[in-house]
């Protein structure tokens, strides 16, 4: 059974149709890249998977591990192993990063009926993981993302992913706003989390990110549908030819 099956998904926001019969299958352990022009529905797909309010599903199904998750609250989906790395991570004044991580991890464990982490266990886990991502202790004490640079915010997203150990990570334009050094650190962090037990959906506009996070499969999205799928060479092809042909095809 595939980890994720999106079947004939139609989604509207404020009466505007964004996804238009989207089909997508992600196998266990697979890294799938989703590429497409602006407005093709890439971020909408990410938000609908995570369960953001305001997106109206008019038709279709999302099966996660065989289970229909459309009626589930975002926190329930997260506890089942779905993780969205935000394109624009939010700043949370007054909540220390450490507190946020512990609250999230223990809330997920509680929802799954697992024992909560003790403080020393948790501290050890965070220190080790943060070190690999060049995140210092000072950053962990600061309020979540407040005053963080673009690169720090994205590293913080990867830290959360590493702590929460999801089954499926959806990376929404993780490369946006990053210079090449920051991109390498983030990509290294993501690559360390690749495993046969974890799948990823890497959403990006540019091929550049896929030099560092090499996908198993590439899907091209246009006008709310997957219009072409292929191997990693498809990304290079797109870089050379642009999206114009797919926009015409879909139209």
């Amino acid at each position: 059974m595939p980890l994720l099956e999106v079947k004939n998904l139609h989604v509207e926001i404020a009466d505007k149709k964004i996804l238009n019969g989207l089909d997508l299958t992600v196998e266990n352990g697979q890294v799938a890249a989703i590429m497409g022009p602006n407005g093709s529905g890439k971020s909408t797909l990410a938000y609908v998977l995570a369960g953001k309010a305001g997106y109206v599903v008019t038709e279709g199904q999302i099966l996660f591990n065989g289970e229909d998750i459309l009626a589930m609250q975002p926190d329930v989906r997260a506890a089942k192993g779905l993780f969205l790395a935000f394109q624009y991570p939010m700043e949370i004044p007054g909540v220390a990063t450490m507190t946020f991580l512990r609250t999230a991890l223990n809330a997920q464990r509680k929802t799954r009926g697992e024992a909560e982490f003790s403080t020393p266990e948790f501290m050890k886990l965070v220190r080790e993981t943060a070190g690999q991502l060049n995140i210092d202790q000072e950053m962990l004490r600061r309020a979540v993302n407040v005053g963080f640079s673009g690169g720090e915010k994205k590293r913080n997203e990867v830290l959360q992913m590493a702590i929460l150990q999801p089954r499926l990570a959806v990376l929404d334009e993780t490369d946006s706003g990053l210079d090449i050094d920051a991109l390498k650190i983030v990509a290294d962090g993501v690559n360390r989390l690749r495993s046969p037990q974890r799948s990823m959906i890497v959403i990006t506009h540019y091929q550049r990110l896929l030099n560092y996070i090499v996908p198993d499969v590439v899907h091209v999205l246009s006008k709310g549908r997957v219009v072409k799928s292929g191997g990693k060479e498809l990304a290079l092809e797109l870089e050379a030819t642009g999206y114009a042909q797919y926009q015409d095809e879909a139209a």
């Binding site: 949370i92 007054g94 999230a104 997920q108």
Partner: protein, 440 residues
């Protein structure tokens, strides 16, 4: 032709006149003090209970809120004292000098009167009766105000604390004045605290009551180079308590003073917190803040006047309120900068978080600036919880109620974190968390 409009007195106003007439001969203090009371009552009686057309009381219409007047509280009995023993629990973890008042009267057996060098503690009732010089010099004179609640307090003041902290003394433990209103009665406490040059102390007031009508006032005289941190906690027993709580802080600050005051109100039926603070000497700093957590039909009005009478002082105000149910949070803040008060640095901020459609926040900041070389500013925000932030937390697996609590805690925590005293800060944060748990 001119018409003299005579407002008809409300039953509460008539009752207050009756209370004063019956009580005045028995109230402590003769001669000048009795004259002060008479004069204060005359001023109150002429104006009547303040109502919505009186600008300073616009949002807290006492004429409408005071349907009746509770009888003056008698001396507390053993049962009342036993109840009061539990008062001030929120700060139980802090080693304080407790001075306990039950229904407005001092209870020595519940209080800590152990001697400490540089610290003189007495009661207002005794000081008034004995014609105490400190009381004669300061009571009714620290801040000149026409406020009707202060006038009523001056007319009917019974007991309270009179504390003098000698020059240079650093008081070892926080002084904790605990006012417990046990009976459904009215009380008028008045306290005077004189802090001499270079002295240092932490001063806490805890007010806890159910159905009582409380009018409490504290006059604070702070000498040059002194440092005073003040905390006032106002809470009620039960969400449906019908009590009325009016309190007034009147503070005059000397030169190079460091003064802080924080008002923590985790819910009470009707609260009016008034603060009048005046800078009398240059180089002083005042940090004034507060946090209110309200639910049901609770109503908390914070009314503040900061008077920069001299230059070179800084004042910072930061108030936050969390409003659920049909509660109402009011902030009226006025900063006055007198013509000679150059180099004043004054900033005021008030923020309200609305958790329900029926809650209401009213903000009225006012700046009256008569000097030309000053930095003054104010800001006010009112809003609901940020839904994008909520989604971010929930996408990490945090359930809605917990995510809400985390964001509310962060909001209120920003105000509480400004408190210097570690123990107080922790106690208030725990109380805020307990409020959030009770809400969930």
């Amino acid at each position: 032709m001119s018409v003299v409009v005579q407002t008809v007195k409300t039953p509460a106003e008539q009752a207050l006149a009756g209370v004063f007439a019956a009580a005045k001969s028995g109230l402590p203090g003769k001669g000048a003090m009795a004259a002060l009371r008479e004069d204060a009552f005359r001023r109150f009686d002429a104006a009547g209970l303040p109502h919505r057309r009186v600008e300073d009381w616009k949002y807290t219409d006492l004429r409408a809120l005071m349907a009746d007047v509770k009888p003056l509280a008698g001396a507390p009995d053993a049962a009342a004292k036993a109840c009061a023993n539990h008062a001030g629990q929120m700060l139980a973890g802090i080693d304080c000098r407790r001075l306990v008042f039950v229904d407005g009267g001092f209870v020595p057996e519940l209080s800590d009167l152990s001697p400490e060098p540089g610290l003189a503690i007495g009661t207002m009732a005794q000081a008034l009766a004995n014609g105490d010089a400190l009381v004669a010099a300061h009571v009714g004179k620290v801040i000149e105000t026409k406020d009707p609640a202060v006038a009523l307090n001056t007319a009917l003041m019974g007991d309270g604390s009179v504390i003098r902290i000698a020059a240079g003394a650093a008081v070892a433990r926080p002084i904790h004045l605990i006012f417990a209103g046990i009976q459904p009665a009215s009380s008028f406490t008045r306290s005077l605290i004189v802090v001499e040059q270079g002295a240092k102390a932490v001063l806490i007031e805890s007010h806890e009551s159910g159905e009582a009508q409380v009018n409490s006032a504290l006059e604070l005289v702070v000498g040059d180079d002194a440092q005073i941190d003040h905390l006032k906690v106002t809470s009620a027993q039960g969400l449906n308590a019908q009590g009325l709580h009016i309190s007034t802080l009147m503070a005059a600050l000397g030169a190079r003073v460091k003064f802080s005051s924080f008002a923590f109100t985790p819910g009470s039926a009707v609260v009016r917190n008034q603060m009048f603070v005046r800078f009398d000497g240059e180089g002083s700093e005042a940090a004034i803040g507060g946090a209110s957590l309200l639910n049901g039909r609770q109503h908390v009005d914070t009314t503040l006047v900061i008077d920069h009478a001299v230059g070179g002082c800084s004042s910072r105000e930061r108030f936050k309120s969390v409003l659920d149910g049909e509660s109402r949070g009011i902030f009226q803040g006025k900063i006055i900068v007198r013509p000679q008060a150059q180099k004043t640095d004054a900033k005021m901020m008030t923020q309200a978080l609305l958790l329900s459609d029926s809650a209401e926040a009213d903000n009225k900041p006012e700046l009256e600036i008569f000097a030309d070389d000053v930095q003054c500013g104010h800001g006010a925000t009112t809003g609901a919880l940020d839904q994008d932030l909520m989604f971010y937390l929930r996408a990490r697996g945090i359930p809605a109620k917990e995510a809400e609590a985390l964001l509310i805690q962060a909001f209120i925590g920003e105000a509480i974190e400004a408190i210097a005293h570690v123990g107080i800060r922790a106690a208030l944060m725990n109380a805020a968390i307990a409020w959030l748990k009770a809400r969930a």
